[in-house]
Point group: C2
Chain length 251, copies 2
């Protein structure tokens, strides 16, 4: 079992889209994948047509009764999910003392998710209890970043957090992924160039282009490759996924 | 002085872009505008070429020494800013007791911002102390929402929060604004139709189209109308701003 977390404190950079697209590509290669939604916004849960107000046995129970959590079959080959419920937002507020609560997810996955080849964890756009759990649990971190100026500062902060964790002995291997790349605009091209200079081997050498099919797929509630397998954004995520697999040696 | 807050718990829906664009349009009409950055990500601060790690007298001081806060001239006619510093993220963590801290911003603006015609407040993508302050202080709330499926659930939650506030006597007049509308895709058109049916008079009857110039403007650190006045996204925000002004009677 390998655990991949998708995180970036900046909002709207494509975390949920990356989680679904990489999981979709892994399932397409025959792997059994567990999706884990740790975002109180529950985008991933909604994407998979579950209702966060109704769904039972969610990631909220990690902090309550972990033994109650049951993955749900999404109906798509090789993809199961543990959804998020709205109640997750309360965990953040109550958790003034983080001691020992940072490893709840890691422990649950080690005990209950061994049947899966990959676990993909979606996180909220904030550095809080969910993010800490997701960083502590993962083998590899994927950091999507939009190729635009406003997203650069957020990435800097994310990297500072990783630097602090590394100093305390928790080095997390990670890959920065340039998303929503729009080859028509200067902003995208220049920002991507800056990212490549700055992050060198830690950034995936490709880009995920702007592709309107992602919105379409999320509206219809299907993994992107099911309806739009040839679309350039979806093909790019499949290439990313192949590049991340161990035999290609992580960048 | 009128205070307009821009908020939505969902990330990446265009809050910062809406704040800058509406402020830009108001300054273009000759009004004196104060931008207020309450987001620890400090996108608005970075957009205006201030460094959140260096900037002094920021919105962080609201919870510390409010009398220290000084608006900074952005260098653009009619636009001043109170920036955000990274330290703002600490306020959220420390503030387990919200009592009385929800009105800090409202009080500061009443005492120190009377020289401005409009105050535009940018908020983080989360329901926390900053959002509560921004909702408590405002005369009108602008809620940008991307015309895509994943953003609908986030909007529902935002509306539930407003409903709860209204029940407790704090009715907040608000306008939902459809952003990043892409007329080429089904997802955008259908989502927009759904929003119009659902929110009727509370949604602005126009749309803000997808426009690559916004990224360009944020990279160059200039208000959108300075370089791209004719661009269709920027013209749409100017139309929105005129529709929001009192003589047009708010929807
Ligand atoms: N490559 C792409 N091209 C075009 N649209 C995209 C692309 N990737 C994501 N999107 C769209 O951008 C929006 C934001 O993406 P997404 O919700 O995945 O971001 P996020 O980082 O998870 O946001 P949040 O911070 O709210 O969790 C969605 O509407 C999604 O469909
Ligand atoms: N109408 C539009 N057309 C194209 N791009 C847009 C439009 N509005 C905003 N953007 C771009 O989308 C990205 C997200 O916008 P923005 O940062 O304003 O969202 P936000 O809601 O403030 O995000 P956060 O939740 O992180 O604060 C930015 O790169 C911005 O330039
Ligand atoms: Mg998300
Ligand atoms: Mg913002």
């Amino acid at each position: 079992m390998k655990i991949w977390t998708v995180a970036n404190q900046k909002g709207g950079v494509g975390k949920t889209t990356t989680t679904v697209s990489v999981a979709d590509a892994l399932a397409g290669l025959g792997y059994r994948v567990l999706l884990m939604d740790l975002d109180p916004q529950a985008s991933l849960t909604c994407y998979m047509q579950l209702d966060p107000d109704q769904v039972e046995n969610t990631s909220y129970d990690l902090f309550n009764k972990p033994e109650r959590i049951r993955p749900v079959d999404t109906g798509f080959e090789g993809l199961h999910i543990v959804g998020a419920s709205m109640a997750l937002a309360n965990v953040e507020k109550r958790s003034s003392s983080i001691d020992g609560k940072g490893l709840v997810l890691k422990r649950w996955l080690q005990q209950h998710a061994q049947a899966y080849d990959y676990v993909l964890i979606d996180t909220p756009p904030a550095l809080g209890m969910m993010m800490i759990n997701a960083l502590a649990a993962c083998d590899h971190l994927l950091v999507p970043v939009q190729t635009d100026f406003l997203a650069l500062k957020g990435l800097e902060r994310m990297m500072k957090v990783l630097g602090m964790l590394a100093v305390s002995g928790a080095e997390i291997p990670h890959t920065v992924i340039a998303t929503m790349f729009d080859k028509r605009t200067n902003a995208s091209r220049r920002t991507y160039q800056f990212l490549k200079n700055q992050y060198k081997t830690r950034i995936w050498p490709g880009v995920i282009p702007v592709d309107t099919k992602f919105r379409e797929a999320s509206r219809l509630g299907v993994p992107p490759s099911f309806l739009f397998a040839q679309s350039h954004g979806i093909v790019a995520y499949q290439k990313l996924t192949r590049d991340l697999l161990p035999d290609d040696l992580l960048r």
